[in-house]
Symmetry: C2
Subunit: 749 residues, 2 copies
C-alpha cells in the first residue's frame, strides 16, 4: 500500500557530535569485527535469481485478502519458513471485507456516458488477463449508495480545495464530487467531501500525476494507461486502521464486534475510483468557472469546476463479507535474550497480482530470512529472538498487522525491541523512515551496503541525490550533517500498529526512485511490468535484504542495543522549531490576510466580472505557551548527555547478563514513553506523541501531532494543552533515560 | 505586435523623497488648477461609442502592410485627422516584405501527415471568412528553404534549452527543431536554432501556454483553438529593426539598399508557425528521452525529445516583394515652443483584422487626438507641438516607426521631448513602461485617472494587484514606495527606434490582464472577439485616452518639463545592484556546480540507465571592477541633488521664455546622454546604455545591457570594459543635469 513521492523521503547527513569514529553501535571493536564477518557470510547467501523466482511465483495469480490464492500463498510461505528452520505458525483472523456486487457510474446530462470501469488485458502482460480472479476497480469500505446529482470538480479534495471553491461561491452540498488521486491519501477525499455535505465521491487518476505526462504508458512504458485505475482502501485509517468491527482488539473468531452500521471507519458516502478515459467525458461536461491553474491536470480539456451541467448517477452495492485473514509468523529463538524480539515484516496480500506491491519487498524479506537461517547452520545463533512476519490484509487497511498487534499487545509491548518494515521495492535510492533512536544504526548500515549500480555505499548515493534535488536546507545538511535523517513515519504500511499504537521503535525501509511508473494497485502490477521497469536484475532485492538483514542482525546480536539518543534530540528539536515557526507564520499570514481584506485590496484587484471573491477573515493567532516544551527539551538534553557520558565511561564487561537484559529493556521500552494511553485528541487508537498520520493527510506524517494539528486546525486552547501534555511525554522519556543512566552508573569504572 | 505577460509590467510605489506633496510636476499651483480644468474638458470629449465604431471600421477587413486595406485605412486616418484640425501628411516608405508563395510541412516518417496550416472560418466570427484578403499562417523574413530531416523538440528554443539537450547527448546539427511559442520572442528561436546547426525551425502554439489549458477556446471562450496559429515576424530585431535592406537610414525610394542576401536580419534557416492540431502528430511521432517536466505542454501526449523517428519535410518559398508603407503624421503646432515636439504613436497595420492588435490602442489614440483638437475650438492651444502618428508595418518589425525615426533622426533628436506609445488595449490593469525620468509624471496621472470598473484610481487598482500577485519585494514596495515603478522597455512595439536608437525619453502605455485570450496574430483577432473578450464596453479605450491625453497635455503645456531625476536614480541604483548580485550569484553557482561535478555527485545521483549526464564545468567567475559604476552613481546623486535644490529655490517667473526653452532642451535631451553613437557591442543600431531588448530574449528587456549581457554571456573582459563605458555614460548624463542646474542657478532667488 506504501506509496509516496521521493522528496518525502529526504534524508540528511549529520554533524551532531555523536561518539567519535565509526564504532559499530552496540558492539565493542572486536565484536564489531566478528559481526562484520557474519554479515559478509550473510551476503553470500543472497541470490538475485531466487528473489526473481519468488516474485514470479507469488505474483502469478491475483491474491487479495479472502481469495484462494491469498491463502495458498500464505501456506506456501509457512512451508518455506519451516523448511529454512523457523518455528512457523499461521495466525488467522476473521475480518470484514466488502467486495463489489454492483458498480455503475453514468453521466446522465448534458450528454450520456457509461463508465467502463475495466482495465483491459494486454498481450504484453501475461497475468493481465486473469479476469476471473481479479478484484474489480473499486474502493474498499465505501458504503453502498445510489445517488444522482450535479458534479463538482474538487481538485485533490483536501480542505484547502474547498476553501478555493467557497471563494468562487461553489457549494458541494447535495453534489457528487470528482477528485483526482494524489495530494492526500485517497481516504481523505470522501471523508472531507462528506464533511462538506457532498453525497458521493469519484476519484480518478489524472495523467498529469499518474499517466502519460510523466512518461510513456503501459505497455510501451511503465506509466498508467488511459484505462488503468487505482484500487484502494478508503476506510478512515487516521481514526484507526485494521478491521473496522474490532477496534483495539484482535479480530479473533470470538472477538466482540461492532455492528457494521456502528463502524466509524467506513465512509459516509459512496466512493468509486475511475480511469482517466472514464473521467474525460465527465470533465468535458463540466461548466462553471475555469479551475485555478494548480488544479489543472493533463487531460486535453479546459478544466472547469461546475457544478453541472454535468450530472452523474453513481450506484454501488457491496458484498459485506467476513473473510479469513492469514498472517505468517516465523520465529528464530534467541539464545541469550529469548524474550527480546526483533520483528521484521512485510505484507503478502495484494490488490491484484502485486509483483511490486508487496511481493518485491516480501521477496527481499524472504531472502533475508533464508540467509539468516543459513547462518545458524554454521553454528551462529542470535542473542535475541528474530521474528519474520508476512502480513495479510494490508491493502484493506493494515488489517493483518493491526489485528496481530492488538491481539498480542501486552506481550509485544513487553518484548519487542524494534519493528522493521518493508513494502514495495525497486531500482534507485535508499529510503529509510522511522524512530530517530535508530537513525545512527541505519546510517551505519547504509554506509556499509553498496549500491549495485554505482558501486558506492547507498548512503553516499542518497547524499548525492539530496545534493542535487533537495531543498536549500536539505542540501546544506547533506554537507554538514554526518547522518542523514530518517523521515518520520506517517502511515501507509504495517509499521503503524507497532509504532503508533504500541509504541515500539520502528523502521520502514526500501529502495526506489528509478522505478517510476503507474502500475500501483492495478492489474498491471505484474511480474512482466516489474522485470521491465521495477528492478530488472533483482539487484535491489538483494540490496534491500543486505540492508534489512544487517539491521536485524545487529539488533539481535548486540550486547548493548544500538539505540542512540543524541540524534533523536536533534530531530525532536527540529520538530519543536517547526511548530513554533508554523504558529508565527500563521500569525503573520493571518494578519496580512485580514489587513489585505480590510484595505479592500481584493475588491480592487479581482476581476469584477468573475465569481472569485476575497477569502474569509480568519481569527487572529494568539501566542502559544511553548515554554513547557522548550523546558522539557532542556531536561531531555541533560538526561541524554548524562546517559551518553555514563555509557562512554562504562567498562562493558562490568554488566552481567541480567543487568544487560535490564538495560536493554529500559532502552527499547523508551519508545513506549513517547505514547500516552489516552492517545491523541479525537483518536485514542493513536498513542504516539511524536509521530502520527495526519488526520487530513492520511499517509502524510504529523510530527508532534497533538500540538501541530491543534495549531493547524486553529484550536488554540487545545494547542496550549497539547504543549503541556507533549512536554510531559518528553519528560517521561527523559526519566526512562535517567533510569538507564542510574543502572549504568552503578557499574562505571 | 506588443504582447507579454502581466508580471513583466510589475510597477511599484515609492517612498523616494520627491518634492513633497502632490504638486503637479512642471506646473505651479495655479497653473495646475487650470490644467486639471482643461483635462476635465478633455475627458468630456471622449466617447466609448466612437471608439467602438473606429475599432469596427478599421478592423472590418484584413489590413496588413502592403495590402489595399492597409492603404485605405491610412487614407481614412489622414482624412479624420485633417477633419479634426491636424496638419496631416502621409509619409511613405518602400520596404521589403516577403509573403508566402508556397508552404509545405509534412511528417514523412514514421507515419505521414500533412500540416493544414489554415485557420477555419467560424460562423460566430463575421470577419473570419475573409480568406481572399487574409495573410496565410507564416513567419515573415524566414528565408526560403526546402529541407528534410529528423525532428528534435527544443522546448522554447532558448539557449538554456540546448544545454539541457546537450546533457542528454542530443545534437540538433542537421536536424529540424520543433519549438513552442513563448519563453522568448519568436525570432530568437530560429536564430538560436541556426547558431546550433539546425536546418529548419517549426514553432507551434502549445495549449499549455496558448490554448485550452488557460481557458475555453474560441468561439466558446477567448483562447486559441486547435487550428489557431500565431503569425509574426522573425527578423533579427535585436540586431536592428525596420526594413532589413536599409539599416540606419529611412527607406525612401532613393535610399541605398542592401542586397537581400546581405541583409543580416533575415533568418538563416526556414521557419514556419503551426497550430497545435498540426503539432500533435509531430509530437506523437517523436522518440528519444522523455522531455524534462518544465518542457511538457498541454497536449495529450508524452513529450519526447527525439531526434526522430519523426522526420519532417519543410518547404517554404516567398514572394520577396518591395511594398509601399504608409505612416500617418498629424501635427498640432505649439504656440510657445513649436520646435519642441511631444510625439504620440500607435501602429495601424495588423497581421489580419487586428481589432485588438493594434486597433484597440489606435482607437484610443484617435479619441485622444480628436479630444485634444476639440480643446482648441474653445481657444486653448498647446505650448509645445503635438504630433500624432499612426505607424504602418509595425508587425513586420517596427518598420514604419523605424524608417521614420531613421529618416528624420537629426530633427527628432533635436526636437522630440518624449515619445508616448500605445498598442493593444483591453480590460484590466494599468501597464506603464518607459524612461524613469517620466515615472513621477505617469504616477501623478495614474492617481487621477479612474478605473471604470472599480471607481478608484488606476494607480490604486494596480497597487492592489501587485499586493496580491507580486513577488515579496514588489509587495513590500507596493506598501512602502509611493510611486509604482515604470517597467523598463525592451522591445515589441514602436517605442524602440525613439528610445533605443535616438535616445528620446519614451513611454509605453496600456490596460489589460482581464482581457486574456488567444487571438493574437490570428484571423480571430476580430471585432467579434474584441467585443466579447477584449473591452466589451470600450471603457478601457476611454481610460487609455484619458491616461495618454493627460500625459501629452502636461508635456505639451508645462512651463517646466515634468521630468524628474530622483526616481530615475532610484531605478538605476536598483539595476546596478542587480548586475552586481547577478555576478555574485553566477560566481556562487559556478563554484557549486564545478564542485558538484568534481565530487562525482552527478555520477552517483543520476540514473545510470538514462542518457542524462552532468552539465559541463564552467569557467570561474572573476570579480568585476564595479567601482567605476558606483562612483558614477555617487556623482549622479550629487548632480541630481543640486538640480533639485536649485529647482526648489527657483522663482519660476525668473526665467524668460528663451531660458525656459533652453532649460527644457537640456532636460529632455538628457535622455540622449544615455546613448553612445557607437551603440552596444555587436549591435551598433542600439545606442541606449540603460535599456535594450535582450540579444537572446528579443522583447525581454536588459537594463544596463552592455554590462549585463557581457556578464550573462561570460565575457569577463568585455564586462569590465562595459562597466567603464556605462559609468562614463552616467557621468555624461550627470554633466547634462549640471548644465541645467547652472542655468537655473543664475536665476535663483
Amino acid at each position: 500500500m506504501f506509496r509516496t513521492s521521493f522528496l518525502v523521503y529526504a534524508l540528511l547527513y549529520s554533524i551532531a557530535a555523536f561518539s567519535a569514529g565509526d564504532d559499530m553501535l552496540g558492539f565493542s571493536r572486536s565484536q564489531a569485527d566478528g559481526q562484520r564477518q557474519l554479515e559478509k557470510q550473510f551476503d553470500g547467501h543472497l541470490k538475485q535469481e531466487e528473489i526473481g523466482n519468488w516474485i514470479k511465483r507469488l505474483s502469478a495469480r491475483p491474491h487479495h485478502l479472502g481469495s484462494a490464492n491469498d491463502r495458498e500463498n500464505a501456506e506456501h510461505l509457512v512451508e518455506l519458513f519451516e523448511s529454512w528452520g523457523y518455528k512457523t505458525r499461521m495466525e488467522k483472523y476473521r475480518v470484514l471485507f466488502p467486495t463489489p456486487r454492483l458498480r455503475l457510474l453514468e453521466l446522465v446530462a448534458p450528454t450520456s456516458y457509461q463508465a467502463k470501469l475495466q482495465e483491459p488485458a494486454l498481450p504484453e502482460d501475461e497475468t493481465s488477463g486473469q479476469l476471473d480472479a481479479q478484484l474489480p476497480i473499486y474502493n474498499a469500505y465505501s458504503v453502498d449508495g445510489d445517488v444522482s446529482a450535479e458534479l463538482v470538480y474538487v481538485n485533490y479534495g483536501v480542505p484547502e480545495d474547498y476553501e478555493e471553491l467557497e471563494r468562487r461561491g461553489i457549494d458541494v452540498r447535495g453534489k457528487i464530487v470528482l477528485a483526482r488521486y494524489y495530494g492526500s491519501w485517497r481516504g481523505i477525499k470522501p471523508k472531507v467531501a462528506a464533511e462538506k455535505g457532498a453525497i458521493g465521491t469519484i476519484i480518478y487518476s489524472d495523467p498529469a500525476d499518474d499517466g502519460f505526462v510523466p512518461g510513456d504508458v503501459y505497455p510501451k512504458g511503465p506509466f498508467r494507461n488511459d484505462r488503468g485505475a487505482q484500487r484502494g482502501s478508503v476506510m478512515d485509517m487516521p481514526l484507526y486502521p485494521g478491521d473496522p468491527l474490532t477496534p483495539d482488539v484482535g479480530a479473533t473468531r470470538r472477538a466482540k464486534r461492532l455492528k457494521i452500521e456502528d463502524a466509524e471507519t467506513l465512509t459516509k458516502i459512496p466512493v468509486l475510483p475511475i480511469s482517466y478515459s472514464d473521467a474525460l467525458p465527465l470533465l468535458q461536461s463540466l461548466g462553471g468557472p475555469v479551475a485555478p491553474n494548480s488544479w489543472k491536470g493533463g487531460l486535453p480539456v479546459t478544466y472547469h469546476l461546475g457544478p453541472g451541467p454535468a450530472k452523474v448517477h453513481l450506484k454501488l452495492e457491496f458484498n459485506w463479507d467476513m473473510v479469513d485473514l492469514y498472517n505468517v509468523i516465523a520465529v528464530l529463538e534467541g539464545v541469550s535474550y529469548p524474550n527480546q524480539w526483533v520483528v521484521r515484516g512485510n505484507h503478502h496480500d495484494a490488490w491484484v497480482n502485486g509483483a511490486a506491491d508487496p511481493i518485491s519487498g516480501l521477496a527481499a524479506l524472504m531472502a533475508e530470512a533464508k540467509a539468516v537461517a543459513a547462518l545458524t547452520k554454521s553454528g551462529w545463533q542470535p542473542q535475541r529472538t528474530i521474528v519474520y512476519a508476512a502480513w495479510d490484509g494490508e491493502e484493506q487497511g493494515l488489517i493483518g498487522s493491526t489485528e496481530w498487534a492488538e491481539h498480542h499487545a501486552n506481550e509485544l509491548q513487553n518484548k519487542v525491541v524494534a519493528y522493521i518494515n518493508t513494502d514495495s521495492n525497486g531500482r534507485g535510492f535508499f529510503r529509510a523512515g522511522g524512530s530517530h533512536t535508530l537513525e545512527k544504526l541505519v546510517n551505519q548500515v547504509a554506509r556499509e551496503v553498496v549500491d549495485p549500480q554505482v558501486g558506492e555505499s547507498v548512503s553516499k548515493r542518497l547524499k548525492a541525490r539530496i545534493k542535487l534535488t533537495g531543498t536549500a536546507e536539505q542540501r546544506k545538511e547533506a554537507v554538514t550533517r554526518r547522518n542523514f535523517r530518517l523521515y518520520p513515519l506517517g502511515s501507509g504500511s504495517d509499521y503503524t500498529p507497532f509504532l503508533q499504537h504500541l509504541g515500539i521503535a520502528s523502521l520502514n525501509l526500501g529502495y526506489g526512485g528509478e522505478n517510476r511508473g503507474g502500475s500501483y494497485h492495478s492489474i498491471y502490477d505484474s511480474y512482466d511490468h516489474y522485470v521491465r521497469f521495477g528492478d530488472p536484475q533483482f539487484d535491489y532485492g538483494v540490496t534491500l535484504a543486505q540492508t534489512g538483514g544487517r539491521i536485524v542482525l545487529r539488533l539481535a546480536n548486540a550486547d548493548y542495543l544500538p539505540f542512540e539518543f543524541e540524534g533523536f534530540i536533534d530531530n525532536i528539536g527540529k520538530y519543536v522549531r517547526e511548530v513554533v515557526k508554523l504558529t508565527d507564520k500563521m500569525r503573520e499570514d493571518t494578519d496580512r490576510l485580514n489587513r489585505t481584506i480590510d484595505e479592500g485590496t481584493f475588491r480592487l484587484a479581482l476581476d469584477p466580472t468573475k465569481s472569485l471573491t476575497a477569502p474569509k477573515r480568519e481569527d487572529p493567532v494568539p501566542h502559544i505557551a511553548f515554554a513547557d516544551l522548550h523546558n522539557a527539551m532542556e531536561i531531555l538534553k541533560v538526561s541524554v548527555g548524562d546517559y551518553q557520558q555514563a555509557l562512554d565511561r562504562l567498562d562493558r564487561q562490568a554488566l552481567n547478563r541480567n543487568e544487560r537484559d535490564k538495560l536493554s529493556r529500559l532502552i527499547y521500552q523508551s519508545e513506549r514513553k513517547l505514547t500516552r494511553d489516552q492517545g491523541l485528541p479525537r483518536r485514542p487508537w493513536y498513542k504516539h506523541y511524536i509521530y502520527a498520520p495526519g488526520f487530513y493527510t492520511g499517509y502524510g506524517v504529523k510530527t508532534l501531532p497533538g500540538i501541530r494539528e491543534a495549531i493547524e486546525e486553529r484550536k488554540w486552547q487545545e494547542a496550549d494543552e497539547q504543549v503541556r501534555i507533549t512536554a510531559g511525554v518528553l519528560k517521561g522519556f527523559a526519566s526512562q533515560i535517567d533510569k538507564a543512566t542510574q543502572l549504568i552508573g552503578k557499574q562505571t569504572k
